[in-house]
Amino acid sequence: MLNPLVKQVDPNMYRYDEFDAQFVSERVEQFAGQVARRLSGELTEDQFKPLRLMNGLYLQLHAYMLRIAVPYGTLSSRQMRKLAHITRTYDKDFGHFTTRTNLQLNWIKLVDVPAILRELADVEMHCIQTSGNCVRNVTADQFAGATDEEIEDPRPLAEIIRQWSSLHPEFVFLARKFKIAVGACEKDRAAMLYHDMAVQIVKNAEGRIGYKVMAGGGMGRTPYIAHVMREFVEREDILAYLEAVLRVYNQDSRRDNIHKQRIKILINTIGPEEMRKRVAREFDEIKRAGTLQLPQDELDRITAYFAPPKFETGLSDEMPEAGADFANWVSTNVSKHRAPGYAIATITLKTPGQVPGDATSAQMDTIADLMDQFSVGEVRVTHEQNLVLPHVRKKDLPAIYAKLKELDFAAPNAGLITDIIACPGLDYCDLANARSIPIAQSIAKKFENLSRQQNIGELKIKISGCINACGHHHAGHIGILGVDKKGVEFYQLVLGGSGAEDASIGEIMGPGFGEHEIADAVERVVNVYLAQRKDGERFLDTYRRLGMAPFKDAAYGKVAA
């Protein structure tokens, strides 16, 4: 809903031209045709399923679920208001921001989907390839364009990859899903090393900017960290190189066992060296053919869409004083911006007791107002199920904080133990073995005390309700995996994972804990850290130093309290 008191601002981001608009609207009509053929019986469910998945529509535990693409996590206020409207009109008034920076709606009717897609197309949004065995939403660092840590904004390249992969005729029936992330810093806020393929913007020895390409990372049943495929790909060659990787994957992946069909399995089976060889061979040919070369003027053209906003000059770089609560929030949720007088503000959708990552339509509308008033009409969705206002003036932070308190999104907990990632789990998901949201809520409530949280410091808890690992538990400092043991929900602890540039796969501790025991088990594990930590160590560091043993002993109560 447009607030008459707030002027809608259009941020600098990719804008559809007539070709993009036509593409999306034709896709909507194509899907409307497929829905009609399904309803009439011309298409069986088996035939319709891959088609609806490639338009983001799942059949879940209670109803259809629609996954709306948020390319590289970037939304305008106009888009946020439309999402609020759709959430209100076609769903039960709340949506969920996911670990791939998309938005999920849980109570969708199949017959409404064409209308929803048309509404999304009105604001340059879609659900194309948010599911299915194809290239999925391309994600990027949520601080893109705002941080001084990046070589350049990764989103223009992410947009170019998005277009290249949209209904790519060769790659829409891959062996499995294919997830791509783009980063531009040494610090990895996009969990690049856990993606099927990742592109990191780098500088070579001559100072020329190019791309490091990695492949074979993944979560799921068998987690892997990605391998470097090529240290430096020239700008103009990047699409040819990505096409080469996809082609090798499409040809050579197994098709006989759905659990062994991600690219991580292929690379692990043939070895990264052999993979690099096969890719190099394809790449040389594709490059020579010339049709996929990326000219500098095209890169410049797309980059221009993402030009930084006009930052005010002469602003004070001092952080305003606005009370102790505000100061607490700043210490965790406000990050350094490249422009003096500016800041990056993280809105954690993780107030203890809330469903992680959820927002009501009213909250979305208010956030849209905040975006317009304070953040040049722009917000980012993060893979940690939070939101980021990328360009705010420091002097506006107290007003922003006050508004967030009204929204109940002012928890000063970014990166702390209550900033938990949880998949929808058995409450919503057809694939789940156990519920994850109530576990997140119980742990967050247990550790609610702010001084306690601050004392514990950075601790990333990630909860998945099944082995598909949509909660990214393998990458949690403390990961929790819900399992079904003879019809009862049990929760396994996994320690020492990381999705950042120091990527590691968590180690399974042992037998699971019951629903009412798991929060206490987490507490015992945390207490080991508090008792044993050395100066400056995060939980993850202490774990890496000590190993599993002391944490395991404490968790299973083998040590005196």
Binding site: L61, H62, K109
Partner: protein, 96 residues
């Protein structure tokens, strides 16, 4: 018991006789494998008529005279999400 989703809106349904009802409590319990399999076969044939999708059987048991699913998943599916008690069948939200 036998459950499925309504094709057009995804609503969860339970088999009763040769029709479907929204609430598990009103649905039919099949006392043996043979009758359950027959019901599933009939429902699967019905999917070709595009009213329902994904029919499957699940176990229930009698708990103090009340029919309760054995699996947690089916309990949640019959009632609604535990974390949003104001939504779903538990809140009386049933599509026509």
């Amino acid at each position: 018991m036998l459950t499925a989703n309504r094709l057009r809106d995804g609503d969860v349904l339970y088999r009763k006789g040769s029709g479907w009802v929204p609430m598990l409590a009103d649905a039919e319990v099949y006392p043996d494998q043979a009758s359950a399999d027959a019901a599933l076969a009939a429902a699967t044939a019905e999917t070709l008529r595009n009213e329902i999708v994904a029919p499957y059987l699940f176990e229930v048991r009698d708990v103090n005279g009340k029919i309760v699913p054995v699996k947690e998943r089916e309990i949640i599916r019959a009632a609604g999400p535990t974390v949003h008690p104001h939504t779903g069948k538990q809140a009386g939200q049933i599509n026509a």
